[in-house]
Amino acid sequence: MFYREAGQFKTSYGADQAVFPIHQDRIFVALWLAIAFVLVPLVSSEYLLRAILIPLLILALAALGLNLLVGYCGQLSLGTGGFMAVGAYAAYNLCVRVPALNPFVAFLLAGGVATLVGIAFGMPSLRIKGYYLAVATLAAQFFLDWVFSRVAWFTNNTPSGSITAPPITLFQLSFDTPVRKYLLCLTILALFAMVAKNLVRGRIGRAWMATRDMDVAAEIIGIRPMYAKLSAFAVSSFFIGVAGGLWAFVHLGSWEPLAFDVNRSFSILFMVIIGGLGSILGSILGAAFITVLPLLLNQLPQWLGVSMSTAMISHLEAMIFGCLIVFFLIKEPLGLARLWRIGKEKLRLWPFPY
């Protein structure tokens, strides 16, 4: 009843091809943005911002990047942690070695470095597909892990292996309070999500999706596979590299190579799968799910009034996490984004059932 588009006529092609053609959609998105930018910083506690919202936003950006690669282009990649590390260390080295450089420019350049690394490690995708490619990207992950642990130049020759990021300032405004960090991450995520949405609706996105669906047929109709696959790796690595820089600078503050290990890659892959492959909103929903879940699971024994050792709690967490993943895959393999779409469809027909 509220969501019908009856009476909304478009008078130009541009209006017809808008990202949100339905008026109610635009109101809805504007409302969400207003809540996110204005309401949330006002009512959230510092813990909520630092422990939940900021990691959620940064990991949503990484999941967005990975979704472009896995969901839209069909190239399975397990090297996300490594690319985040590339972004983080590149940003660190740029900020430390070129002190005059603005941190934001450093982030973008770090994203560029991650892009180059992503293209280099994406070269095997031209020859191999599927699980083989997944293991090739695992090679990238372990190799990058090793490079950042052993090659002292990247960590500025610190003896401990753990480095601290310089503070981020822009035009005398320092991003040190949680609210400012939250707004920074939110702005970057919103911008990048807009860019991603437009990319996938355009020529490049269609090339990616054709390659995902049947790459031989795509090649036959004229989509150059090298261009499609490597551009997917490039754009995805850019997003992931910037996310890595943000993760290191904004969330962690100081880190060591272990922060970007293979578990990080798997958790971002989980976000993409549970959120929904091939969906921008899905990446964000998946990131929210995976970020909030361990916190909920941690609190669960307390709420139930059962006391158990922390070791037992972490074992139970692992079990429930695994069960939830399998449950999700069985019940809704297309992810949370599909549940959302089903909800919207129901809303269109409400109050009628069909």
Partner: protein, 303 residues
Amino acid sequence: MGFFLEVVLGGLMAGVLYSLVALGFVLIFKASGVFNFAQGAMVLFAALTLVRLMELLKHTFNPLLIALLLTIAVMIALAWAIERLVLRPLVNQPGISLFMATLGISYVLDGFGQAVWGSDVYVLDVGIPKRPLVLLESVVPGGVLVPSEDLFAALIAGLLVVGLGVFFQKTRIGRALRAVADDHQAAQSVGIPLNYIWVIVWAVAGLVALVAGIVWGSKLGVQFSLGLIALKALPVLILGGFESILGAVVGGLIIGVGEKLSEVYLGPRVGGGIENWFAYVLALVFLLVRPEGLFGERHIDRV
């Protein structure tokens, strides 16, 4: 020369251990097309169950035998549970869904195994002699030092491969498994019950995981890091091809030797610790030359 031989032999032994884990992967991939990431967790679970049962039953007349039988029963029950709860509902889903499901299973097995049996390091002693042997004294001055438990591991792995080969070639169930590996739908239309076959495959893979767990566990002690061996077996699979038992063995040997040689000869030049990624890079190089692995089946993409 003697040192080089020792490194090569050590690499071959390590390679045998990798092959044992990769065998389980290959079995499941051949028969159900599922890349079972939970194989490492199964190795850990099987070893944990065996060790703890041996401890619980240590006052009976033969703790090893009873614990072994009970563990085999547990692994068969696990295979049945996985088939019923995970594989059957996910029957026609794309490969990545099944891969993620096995990832979920590995988390569950890790958590469950450690919640039930505890997460300490346990010593597994099944009677494998641990005395190091010195071989080839006449050929090389001083001889070559070979740990005899590695020799035993190689022997067990060899027996296992031969046993699996006989199972697949000579028995009726083995033929049915090969038929399912070839083409699920054709096998089903001939009357082979797919669900039953999958339980059998996962049970056999579970038993292979048990053997791998025993061998690794006696060498390293049963601890949580056993579950991470799955990640090490992946390059073995790439090298050998995902669908070939011979490939798993040969790939394991190549990876083992390559790793040890690179660590000893290349490692000091680049700061050490390259064991972690060398296997992957080696597999990657092989892949660029032969994308299906040495013994894998060529995929012909049809439009």
